[in-house]
């Protein structure tokens, strides 16, 4: 894997950094406290050509994860909006019909059309709960009934890329679809109050007798493979966010340790503190190399699902710890959501502690990346 920067990726990184500094830094804390969907930031991401990098043959997944990591260092919630939007764009770019690409990709690139993926259901497995999303196919027409749960960007999105169970009981398969949010029968439930990533809305999306005339994504029989690939891409995006949060936390905690004087010296001089800081930086860095490797494999056309699962499994074990330890270094100030009167400066670690829990989740108890890794041997 080449570590050198292409000119194109360098330009993407520069745009992502400038966006994070200029537009995100001033509003990240407010976005967390108001949880109001940041429409203007989405449009700005569009102006910066950052919204659909995985669907851009001049950019790709590696450029996308690099941009996500930089954005997540400042505001993981906006990174999460971007990640789910870009994932839907990736699906349409890769498997959509010419008509779907023409209809949707330009709007997805500018931000005029916001999209997301609807993968999860409340049941034990896809197609198995009482509210499972079930589709019936007749020719090219797909009729949908059921609920997709925990859909990010729900309510704000104009377009859903989703998956439904189709076929007779006992021989069900999964089909992908593209549905506009204003299709009759599509409705969005109340937003959930989430622990973090606030500003990136989450809700259930209900499909009631929704008829899609030309909404099938790719070939119906490929649905399960498409879903698996999207899960891998999503995992890489979330891992990029996690490592970005970890890097930012290490930087913030190191500065706090240099400023905090106890026993006559900065606590940064204590070995126990240095060890915590080193572990945060090391775990985030090594995981990031794993993300880069998997993304480069994808861009080069190789399978990358196992590598993505390894990263997900690794960060499942070490992701939350990045912030558990960073806050430990900052101590009492680390648990402040807003700065107390006797402190001047910003205190982002409490927010990042809540955010990183959302970027290291398994999506469900049956989401088991370890199984994928083990099966590969």
């Amino acid at each position: 894997m080449s570590m050198s920067m292409t000119e194109n990726r360098q330009a993407v990184l520069a745009r992502a950094s400038a966006f994070a500094d200029e537009f995100l830094e001033p509003v990240a804390a407010d976005l967390d406290s108001t949880a109001k969907f940041p429409q203007a930031l989405v449009m700005e991401l569009g102006r910066q050509n950052l919204l659909t990098l995985p669907a851009d043959s001049n950019a790709g997944l590696r450029a996308h994860v690099e941009a996500l990591r930089i954005i997540a260092q400042v505001c993981p919630a906006v990174a999460s909006i971007l990640n789910h939007h870009a994932l839907a764009a990736y699906a349409i770019f890769k498997w959509g019909s010419d008509a779907q690409k023409t209809a949707y990709l330009p709007g997805l690139a500018t931000g005029g059309t916001l999209s997301t993926v609807a993968m999860h259901e409340s049941g034990p497995a896809l197609g198995h709960g009482p509210e499972a999303l079930v589709g019936s196919l007749a020719g090219g027409r797909l009729t949908l009934n059921g609920v997709k749960s925990f859909v990010r960007n729900a309510g704000a999105a104009h377009l859903y890329v989703g998956f439904a169970s189709v076929g007779p009981a006992g021989a069900m398969s999964v089909a992908g679809f593209v549905a506009a949010s204003d299709t009759p029968g599509v409705s969005v439930g109340p937003p959930y109050l989430t622990m973090g990533l606030r500003g990136c809305p989450v809700a259930d999306v209900t499909f009631k007798n929704v008829v899609l005339e030309a909404g099938l994504l790719g070939v119906a029989a490929d649905g399960a493979d498409m879903l698996a690939e999207l899960c891998s891409v999503l995992a890489l995006g979330e891992a990029a966010q996690t490592t970005g949060i970890g890097k930012a936390a290490a930087v913030h905690a190191s500065a706090a340790a240099r400023h905090r004087i106890q026993f006559g010296h900065p606590i940064a001089e204590l070995q126990a503190v240095q060890q915590l800081l080193c572990e945060i930086a090391t775990d985030a860095h090594l995981a990031w190399l794993g993300v880069l490797h998997a993304a480069q494999l994808a861009d080069d056309g190789w399978p990358f699902g196992v590598e993505a699962a390894m990263v997900k499994s690794f960060l499942g074990r070490f992701g939350q710890k990045l912030l558990v330890d960073a806050i430990q270094v900052e101590g009492g100030l680390g648990i402040c959501e807003t700065a107390p009167p006797h402190f001047k400066g910003t205190l982002p670690l409490a927010r990042m502690f809540r955010d990183i829990a959302g970027t290291t989740l398994c999506d469900a108890p049956d989401d088991f990346p370890e199984g994928l890794v083990a099966a590969s041997f």
């Binding site: 999860h120 049941g123 034990p124 749960s149 925990f150 959930y192 109050l193 989430t194 622990m195 973090g196 989450v202 004087i261 106890q262 026993f263 606590i267 126990a272 503190v273 499942g316 939350q320 558990v324 806050i327 430990q328 101590g331 009492g332 680390g334 648990i335 402040c336 959501e337 807003t338 107390p340 009167p341 006797h342 409490a350 502690f353 809540r354 829990a357 959302g358 290291t360 989740l361 398994c362 999506d363 469900a364 108890p365 049956d366 989401d367 088991f368 370890e370 199984g371």
Partner: protein, 387 residues
């Protein structure tokens, strides 16, 4: 090991009932608003539970340390923010119990038997782990002392009626110059800052206290001048197990929520896959081990044996276990965990790894005890090696 008596079992059940009825139903709303759960003090008043550590001769419940831990674990299961109000009030009182005169005990215990609470005021902006780094001073006057300075991160500080406050009577003497005082709410110059907006334990009252030339009588001094550090350290030794008990309750709650979710999600399966089973088993093993470390430490204390190191161990281990159990529960529950009570548990326990002495300070205590050279003559082997 301790097996609890029927009497303790009844007290534990009463605490469970109180938690189910008064704590669990309210915890989430208070967590969201961050407002102090004042109603809890009213509801707990008939049980006089805030006086659970007070000796019978003063009208208290005189619960043994283990019995107190059983109650705190149940409260911690319900809500560690609310349980912290109780634990911190008991903590403030331990200093008086250790060093107070009869009159001081009356002064401190009476409000607690009447639904009021106390606060322990040690930390300052410059003095967290480094307790000796404080700048609050107490200058002796003909009428008593004048206390000047500030305190931060004070649990119950805005809602307590009685306070134990640490200040330097001899700033040149370092830790030996610290003394402890009893203050009361509303003394001229003693004012309360805004509530801190915290990640966790959100409805537990945490404030900055200003002490601007607060005049206290000579009778406010706890113990002798210069005893402050000793009193503070002994108090914290007594108090740390309370945090361990809270953390164990919190971890039990995280495990219970996780199991309930898995059962609901896989209703037809008696057992989920091994990967889940083993994680759940590890959570159970860690919780039980943490409880036994705590109960062993309490047994040492009740037997009159040294327990300072074990106190540090129990606080560190239980809060680290609780953090791990809560974070694991969150992961296993996935998106459902992210919108559930488990998020609150994770946020709450993060604070608990820091307050009452960070887990790093506890490790220093344990490491120093572990590395301490024996005071008796060196064993023969070491002598031989020294030659």
């Amino acid at each position: 090991m301790n097996l609890i008596t029927p009497e303790q079992s009844a007290i534990q059940q009463a605490a469970k009932d109180f938690t189910a009825q008064h704590i669990i139903p309210k915890a989430r709303a208070y967590d969201v608003s961050g407002e102090f759960h004042a109603v809890l003090l009213e509801e707990a008043k008939p049980s006089r539970i805030f006086g659970m550590a007070i000796p019978q001769s003063y009208g208290g419940l005189a619960y043994s340390p283990l019995t107190q831990a059983l109650v705190l674990e149940e409260w911690g299961y319900g809500c560690c923010a609310m349980a912290t109000t109780l634990a911190a009030s008991v903590l403030s009182m331990e200093s008086v119990m250790l060093a107070g005169t009869e009159a001081q005990k009356q002064q401190f215990y009476t409000p607690m038997l009447n639904g009021k609470i106390g606060a322990f005021c040690l930390t300052e902006p410059t003095a967290g782990s480094d307790v000796g780094g404080g700048r609050t001073t107490a200058v002796k006057t003909s009428a008593g002392y004048t206390i000047h300075g500030s305190k931060c991160w004070i649990t119950n500080g805005g809602v307590a009626d009685v306070f134990t406050v640490f200040a330097k009577t001899d700033p040149s003497a370092g830790m030996k110059g610290i003394s402890a005082f009893i203050l009361e709410r509303g003394m001229p110059g003693f004012t309360v800052g805004d509530d801190e907006n915290k990640l966790g334990l959100r409805s537990s009252n945490t404030v900055f206290l200003n002490l601007k030339d607060v005049k206290v009588p000579a009778s406010a001094l706890l113990g002798q001048e210069g005893d402050g550090m000793k009193i503070a350290m002994q108090t914290l030794d007594l108090a740390r197990p309370a945090i361990a008990a809270l953390a164990i309750g919190l971890a039990e709650r995280a495990l219970a929520l996780c199991i309930a979710h898995i059962n609901a999600r896989f209703p037809a399966k008696p057992f989920p896959g091994q990967a889940l089973q083993f994680k759940l088993a590890d959570m159970r093993i860690q919780i039980e081990a943490a409880r036994q470390v705590l109960h062993h430490m309490l047994a040492l204390r009740e037997a009159g044996k040294p327990f300072s190191q074990e106190s540090a161990m129990s606080k560190t281990y239980a809060t680290d276990v609780a953090m791990n159990v809560a974070a694991t529960a969150m992961r296993l529950m996935g998106s459902a965990g992210y919108i559930s009570e488990v998020g609150k548990l994770m946020r709450d326990v993060k604070v608990m790894q820091i307050y009452e002495g960070t887990n790093q300070i506890q490790r220093l205590v344990v490491a120093r005890a572990t590395l301490a050279r024996p005071k008796t003559a060196a064993p023969a082997l070491e002598k031989a090696m020294a030659k």
